[in-house]
């Protein structure tokens, strides 16, 4: 147990700073032990079965039962009318997808948001692949759509993990590796690699760089919340300019910005205004009051 050198109070083992004066705790003999916290850091859920779950289970069972009845009836009608199962597969697959989105969370209560999002993402990807296969007999457009959904999931997973891990370098490596993997995947799938190398990849890299830049600028608290919009506007302007240059180079083999000049003219003053906002104290405190910051 440590003492605060400023306040003279004893501090619990899990405090890195004094809750009263924010002075850092420096005690080589006593280690900071976050496990001894008296309150959870995040909202927790109990693993045990809540009685409330009974209603959810009941609702989930009812939805499952009705969905399966519908699927069976559809398949039967299709088979009896045309002697084969064809069009009925589309509503059947759609119903299975809806069941996964609605009834599955009811039947498996206590799931975290991220876990549900994971299930839904993969279910959506599978649904698109199945739909494509049923309609056109082969996997055509869905081979682009399904990986795109998985890629969005990977980005979201990064956000969830970064919130817990709080180590930025591995997170950046994670994002870069994921991006390269997906770009290579798309390059294999597309016949015209020229588009990938000269258009998609540069745009992709610039979006990635700008997004990461925005994220870390806000995270590192270089700017406070009042100039947050300013940073976003500035980064969007830079991105628009970069995209315009890449497209013009791809089409005409020269760097001639066209539409991005108008975007720059519109966004740069807004961005400057946002960044300068922090200088105007009164307005800042008014905004801070309104947002409870």
């Amino acid at each position: 147990m440590s003492y605060c050198v400023h306040c003279g109070v004893k501090l619990a083992d899990y405090h890195e700073t004094c809750p009263l004066c924010n002075t850092k705790v420096l005690n080589p003999k006593s280690k900071i032990d976050p496990q001894t916290r008296d309150f959870p850091k995040y909202r927790e859920h109990l693993k045990s079965k809540n009685p409330d779950n009974m209603k959810r289970l009941f609702a989930g069972t009812i939805v499952s039962f009705i969905s399966s009845i519908y699927i069976i009836i559809l398949l039967l009608i299709n088979y009896l009318v045309s002697g084969q199962i064809s069009w009925s597969l589309i509503p059947a697959v759609s119903l299975v997808y809806v069941w996964f989105g609605v009834a599955f969370p009811l039947l498996r209560p206590g799931q975290t948001f991220f876990r549900l999002y994971t299930y839904d993402s993969f279910a959506t990807a599978l649904f698109l692949l199945a739909l494509n296969l049923i309609i056109s007999g082969n996997i055509a457009w869905s081979k682009f759509a399904a990986p795109a959904i998985i890629f969005v999931w990977i980005i979201m997973a990064g956000i969830f993990i970064s919130d817990r891990v709080k180590k930025w370098i591995p997170m950046i490596i994670y994002y870069i590796l994921a991006s390269i993997l997906f770009t290579v995947l798309y390059a294999f799938m597309l016949t015209n690699n020229n588009v990938i190398v000269h258009l998609i990849l540069p745009i992709y890299v610039s979006v990635l760089v700008i997004s990461l830049l925005s994220f870390f600028m806000t995270k590192a608290k270089i700017f406070d919340i009042t100039s947050f919009l300013g940073i976003i506007f500035a980064n969007v302007a830079i991105l628009a300019f970069a995209v315009d240059m890449i497209v013009s180079h791809f089409l005409t083999h020269s760097f001639n910005p066209t539409w991005s000049i108008f975007v720059l003219c519109a966004l740069i003053p807004l961005s400057l205004m946002g960044i300068l906002l922090r200088k105007i104290k009164q307005l800042r405190s008014f905004i801070a009051r309104k947002f409870h910051r």
Binding site: V9, K10, P40, H292
Partner: protein
């Protein structure tokens, strides 16, 4: 509790002091308070669920929905199963009954801590403490640590006594019918002399920072003896001193200094032999003029006679009379709920809560039967957040120490810092922890 017929659900009115709470509920003023017990061993959620299911029928006045009528809110029987919740980083957060099977209270567990959060609409600290004591006892019995219900804990097989759920304030009027003063006592609703309230940046909506301070009872007794006052008075005085310092920092012009109004709840169970399990407390609001206070002793000199003079049956009876008269007023009684809620909200914002600079509630020493106390390491109480005061303080004594628990919705722990540093200066050993 009334029933239309044998099969219908029972219902009852909110008690006199709870009528304003439905109108005032918000994310910043949740009207929730928490009491907790820390056991020696880690808590098993399933056993808590079993214990709660066993004791629930003994507290029919807590197992209710809050319903809206045309003129008043009322409670109606709720036979849904209760839910045990894991703890949250922000205690006393707003309770949404829709996610809690309609209940206005919830039980949370975290490691070896068992907490009960109650809406003030249902009960006050006294009633909630009885509930928690019963829950702990039955938890320990199921766990095999206790053989039977010891004396001093409610008997769950007994029928609820009507005294427990009847409006205790009306009962007081019945008891004191010979002493009632017939002269009008209406409180001045339009008091414009507002008190000082701290001005600070607020934490993001829903975040409630708490600081739990633990001081040994002996140390506090010694200090209060040196000032010749009670522990509640000492802590309230320290709170007032902190607010005076904050005012000095925040208001540059001494001419603009405002009085400090301190809300000190009084447990009416100590004055009347009514064993109510619903709200049965009133509050005193001593006002301190910062211009007249030069040192700490001045606060005590003012507060001590104030408490002696006002913490009496005679004074509190006039308050009860006023509150009941307001509720019985024909115009107020027959005003529709939306209008009533709007007026209550307006009056509370401009007159009610605007009269408090801070709040300190002392539940006193908690006594548990010896058999139960062996298994309980610690107990505590925490007041819910309030939009106007920003900071509130709950005090409770257990075994040989006292917990001084502060909760705040503003960024800087201005009051807490002052109170704990002053206690250290006075010679007490303070240990603190926070969420």
């Amino acid at each position: 509790m009334k029933k239309k017929n044998q099969d219908s659900k029972y219902w009852f009115r909110l008690d006199t002091s709870a009528t304003i709470y439905p109108a005032l509920e918000s994310t910043e003023t949740t009207n929730i308070f928490r009491i907790w017990a820390e056991l020696e061993e880690e808590i098993d959620a399933e056993i808590v669920q079993k214990a709660l299911d066993i004791i629930k029928p003994r507290f029919p006045y807590f197992n209710v929905y809050l319903r809206s009528g045309i003129f008043w809110h009322y409670f109606e029987e709720n036979d849904n199963p209760s839910i045990i919740w894991a703890d949250t980083p922000n205690p006393c957060e707003r309770l949404y009954p829709i996610y809690n099977n309609g209940f206005q209270y919830l039980v949370r567990i975290y490691k070896n801590k068992l907490s009960a959060e109650f809406s003030h609409m249902l009960t006050d600290g006294g009633g909630a403490m009885e509930f928690l004591k019963t829950l702990i006892t039955h938890y320990l019995i199921i766990k095999g640590k206790l053989d039977s219900v010891p004396e001093g804990i409610m008997d769950i097989n007994a029928e609820p006594n009507p005294e427990e759920y009847e409006d205790a304030f009306l009962k007081v009027l019945e008891i004191e019918k010979d002493n009632l003063d017939n002269s009008p006592h209406q409180r001045n609703l339009f008091n414009t002399d507002a008190v000082f309230q701290m001005n600070d940046r607020k934490l993001p909506l829903g975040v409630y920072k708490i600081i739990i301070g633990t001081v040994s009872l002996e140390d506090l007794k010694k200090i209060s003896k040196s000032y010749n006052c009670k522990i509640t008075e000492l802590l309230a005085a320290l709170y007032v001193e902190a607010l005076i310092y904050v005012q000095h920092e925040q208001v540059k012009d001494p001419k603009k200094y405002r009085p400090i109004g301190m809300e000190i709840p009084v447990n009416m169970r100590n004055l009347y032999p009514i064993r109510s399990m619903r709200n049965f407390s009133l509050f005193l609001v001593p006002r301190f003029d910062p211009k007249e206070i030069n040192k700490f002793e001045d606060i005590i000199t003012f507060l001590k006679p104030f408490m002696i003079k006002h913490n009496t049956r005679e004074f509190l009876l006039t308050m009860v009379q006023d509150n009941c008269a307001l509720a019985k007023n024909k115009v107020i009684k027959h005003a529709p709920i939306p209008l009533k809620d709007f007026i209550i909200r307006y009056l509370s914002n401009t007159q009610g809560h605007a009269q408090f600079s801070g709040a300190i509630s002392n539940l006193g020493a908690i006594r548990l039967p010896k058999e139960v106390e062996e298994h309980v390491k610690d107990m505590g109480v925490l007041l819910g957040p309030t939009y106007h005061c920003l900071t509130g303080c709950g005090v409770v004594g257990f075994k040989d120490h006292i917990h001084i628990n502060f909760g705040r919705i503003n960024k800087n722990p201005m009051v807490e810092k002052h109170v704990f540093r002053r206690l250290v200066e006075m010679g007490a050993q303070v240990s603190i922890k926070s969420n």
